[in-house]
Amino acid sequence: MRNLLGEFIVELRAAGLPVSMSEHVDAARALTAIDISDRDMVKACLAATLVKNGDHMPVFSTAFDVYFSNRHADASDLGEMDEESSNADETKGDDPNATGMRGSGRSRGMGGGGGSSMSAEELAEMLFKAMQSNDLNSMRSGAREAVDRYAGMEPGRPVGGTYYLYRTLRNLDLDTLMDRLIAAGTKADADGLEERLVKDEAKAKVEALKAAIEAEIRERLVDDRGAEALGKSVRKPLPEDIDVMHANRDEMAQLERALKPLSRKLATRLARRRRKRRRGPIDLRSTVRRSLSTGGVPIDLRFKPPHPAKPEIVVIADISGSVASFARFTLHMVHAISSQFSKVRSFVFVDGLDEVTHLFEESDDPAEAVARINSEADVIAFDGHSDYGRALLVFHEKYASTINKRTAVLILGDARNNYHQAHAEVLADLKFRARNVYWLNPEPTSYWNSGDSVIREYAPYCDKVVECRSLRQLEAFVGDLA
C-alpha cells in the first residue's frame, strides 16, 4: 500500500499537482485511520490530504481511477496489490458474470462483438430501463456490456481511452436513447418548464452513462497495460496549464470556466497590492482618535489610503485564424479586470484594423462581446492574411495621438507577417510615446523567427516580449502589468 501511495503521488506530481512531503505523510497517516477496503472512503481520504484546490479535483479523480481501479479495490487485501495486478482475474469469484467477462475481455477485441448474450436491441432496452429508474448498478453493467460489444479493445495498443470511448458511443446511439428518455418522462399536459426539466434530466443521465463507459474502458486499459503506462496517456493538464493555441472543445470550455474566478482573483489581488504598496500621508484625525487608548501618546500612526495610479491600456490583438483563440482569451481577461485600469481600449486586426472597445462596453458578458467581435469587427482589408505592418500603420495614423506616457500598449500575436513589410519604425514611434510596449506571443519561444515570423524586428521596440500560452502565463503577465 505504501508503495502504491508513493507511485500515485509521483503520478499526481507529474500531472502538475503540488503535493508536498508533509501531505504525503498526512495521506499515509490518514489511511491508517480508516477502513481501506472501502474505495470511496480511500478516495475521500486521499482527496482531503493531497488535493488543496477544487480545480485540481478532476485530475486527481482520473489518476485515482487509474491507480486504484475498481478491480483492485475488489480485493480487500490492498497490501499485496503491487504483486498481483497481473493476475487479478483469479482473486475473486463472487461475481461470476464479471469474472467471466474479464477473462474473455482480452481475446474478444479481435473477434468483434461475438460472445455477448444480448442483442443490440436488448442492450439499448436495458440501458433505457436502467437510466429511467436511476438504477446505478444495472447502468454500470450495461456500460460493461456496451464496451464488450462495441469498443473492440485490442490488448497492448498504446492509445488513450478516447478512441474506444468514441467507438462505443457512436454505436450506442445516445441521441435516440435521450429522445426516448425525454418522451417517456414528459407528461401529456406538461408546460414548457416541465419539458425543459425533463430534457435536462435526460441529459444528466446520458452524461452519467458516458462517465460509466469511460470508467469501464479505463479500468480495462489498466488491466491491460498497468497503471503507470496508462497514467501517462490519460494525464490531462490542469486548467491553468492548458495550451490555449491547441485546446480542444472540452478544454476550451474548461478554460472559460477557469477564467471567470481567475479574473476575479486577479482583481482582488491587484487592488490589494495597490493599496498596500505605498502609504499615503498621515491621517491626523484617525491617529489622534487612536492615541486615546494609549493615554494620548500617538503610538499607532494612521495613514490616509494612497491614490494608486491606474495605467491606461491599449490592446491590439491579431484575430486571424492562427491565433484567434489566444486573442479571445486575452481580450476576455483584460476586460474582466478592466476595473483595475483607468481605461482600456481594444483594437483587433487581420490586415485591417478596427476598434472594438464599444462591444465590450455594451454587453457585460465577455463571451458575447467576443462573439460580436468575430461577426461585426471590420478587420479584413484585402486577402484576410494577417499583415502586422499595415495594421500598425493604420493604428498609428488614426490613434497615435491618444497614446501618452500613462499608456501601456499590449500587442497580441504571433508576428507571422505572411512576408509583408514589418514597418517596425511605427512601433518605434509608439514606444517613444507610450509608457510601455509589451508583446504577448502565443507561440513557443523556439518557433520565434522561424518561417514568416518577424518578432525579431519588433522586439527591440518592446519593453518585453513574452511567451504566453497558458492561463498561468497570462495571469503572471497581467499581474505584473497593473
Binding site: 491508517t32 488543496k52 477544487g54 408546460d191 414548457g192 419539458e195
Partner: protein
C-alpha cells in the same frame, strides 16, 4: 504500517493528562449525528469530518457561497455538544482582534495605582504583574485554545484577510498553541476541532493549505438537494421539493453570473410553501424567480431559457 495515533501524539505534545476520546466512531455516525442536527452531509463531507477528528487536523472548506460551509461547522458543534467559537475574518484583521491584546487601560491604571500608594514597589515586580493573564484580553483564537470544555473553532472567510495575516494562524493550526512573547506559550487544554471556510476569492498560502485537510463543497446533486429542502422547510411535500431541486439544477446548468445557492433554494421553497403551491407552473416560476437569481441579466436569461423555449416548442 506504524500505528502512531495522531491524537495520542498531539495529546503528549500538549501535555494533556489523557487523550480525549474520539468524537465519532465511524463515518456512518458522522452522517447520522449531522442529520439529527438538520445537516444533510454526503460521503465526502462526512469522511473529511471524521478524518479531521481522527487525525486532529483542521479542515479547510472551500466552495461557492451559500453551499453550507459555515453551517457545517455549526452542525458539527451541535452534534458533538461543543461550544462554537467563531472568528469572522475581514480585511485588516490583525493580531489584536484575532489572537489577544494587552489591556492598556487596565495596565495604565495598575501602574498609576502602584505609584500613588508606595514608591517602594520594585519595577520588575510591577512589570511581571502587568503582563499577567489578568491584563490579557483573549480574542477568539486564544479563547479556543485556552478553553477547557470541548470547542469547535470556526474561522470564517479566511480568504478575506491579507496573506501576511494568515501567518498568525499557522501556529494554532499545526501545534494548537499560541506564543505570547511576554507570557510564554499557551497550549491547548483539549483538542479543538477547527474549520476554516473560504470563498476562494484568492489563493491561500501553501503553508496554510498544507496544515489543513481540504474539503470542496460544491452544489449538491438533485437527490441531496431535495432531501435538504425537505429537512429544512417544514410542511413541504416531497413532490414539490423534488421539482424545486430539478428546476435549480437546470438553472445551475445555464451559464449565469451567479448560480443559485442552496440557501437561496431554501428561501424559494419557503416562499412557494407560503404561497400554498403544490407544484410549480410556469407563471409561478417566472413570478418568484427573483428569489433565486440576483442579477437582472440572469433573470432574463433564465426566463428565456426555461420558459420561452418550451413555449416555442409547444
Amino acid at each position: 504500517m506504524s500505528s502512531i495515533d495522531p491524537r495520542q501524539e498531539l495529546a503528549d505534545r500538549l501535555g494533556l493528562a489523557e487523550v480525549p476520546p474520539a468524537r465519532f466512531e465511524n463515518v456512518a455516525e458522522v452522517i447520522e449525528k449531522l442529520r439529527q442536527n438538520d445537516y444533510l452531509s454526503d460521503e465526502a463531507i462526512a469522511s473529511v469530518t471524521f478524518l479531521a477528528d481522527r487525525l486532529a487536523k483542521p479542515v479547510l472548506v472551500e466552495g461557492p457561497a451559500g453551499t453550507g460551509k459555515t453551517a457545517l461547522a455549526k452542525a458539527v458543534a451541535d452534534a458533538v455538544g461543543a461550544r462554537l467559537i467563531r472568528l469572522q475574518c475581514y480585511e485588516g484583521l490583525d493580531e489584536s482582534k484575532a489572537l489577544y491584546e494587552w489591556n492598556y487601560r487596565k495596565q495604565l491604571l495598575r501602574i498609576q495605582a502602584g505609584r500613588s500608594d508606595s514608591s517602594t514597589e520594585d519595577w520588575s515586580a510591577l512589570e511581571e504583574d502587568i503582563f499577567a493573564e489578568e491584563f490579557l484580553l483573549t480574542r477568539p483564537l486564544l479563547e479556543a485554545i485556552s478553553a477547557t470544555e470541548p470547542v469547535v473553532l470556526l474561522i470564517d472567510e479566511i480568504d478575506r484577510v491579507e496573506l501576511e495575516t494568515e501567518a498568525l494562524l499557522l501556529e494554532i493550526l499545526s501545534e494548537y498553541q499560541v506564543s505570547i512573547p511576554e507570557l510564554g506559550t499557551v497550549k491547548a487544554k483539549q483538542i479543538p476541532m477547527v474549520f476554516l471556510t473560504s470563498n476562494n476569492t484568492r489563493e491561500l498560502s501553501e503553508a496554510l493549505k498544507r496544515r489543513c485537510l481540504y474539503l470542496y463543497v460544491g452544489y449538491p446533486d438533485v437527490e441531496r438537494e431535495r432531501d435538504i429542502i425537505i429537512s429544512r422547510v417544514p410542511g413541504i411535500s416531497t413532490a414539490l421539493a423534488e421539482q424545486i431541486a430539478r428546476v435549480v439544477r437546470s438553472l445551475r446548468n445555464l451559464d449565469l453570473k451567479k448560480a443559485p445557492s442552496v440557501s437561496e433554494t431554501l428561501d424559494w421553497a419557503r416562499t412557494l410553501v407560503l404561497l400554498g403551491r403544490e407544484e410549480i407552473g410556469e407563471a409561478d416560476a417566472v413570478a418568484t424567480l427573483h428569489i433565486l437569481l440576483k442579477y437582472q441579466t440572469d433573470l432574463e436569461k433564465a426566463t428565456k431559457e426555461l420558459v420561452g423555449r418550451g413555449k416555442a416548442l409547444a
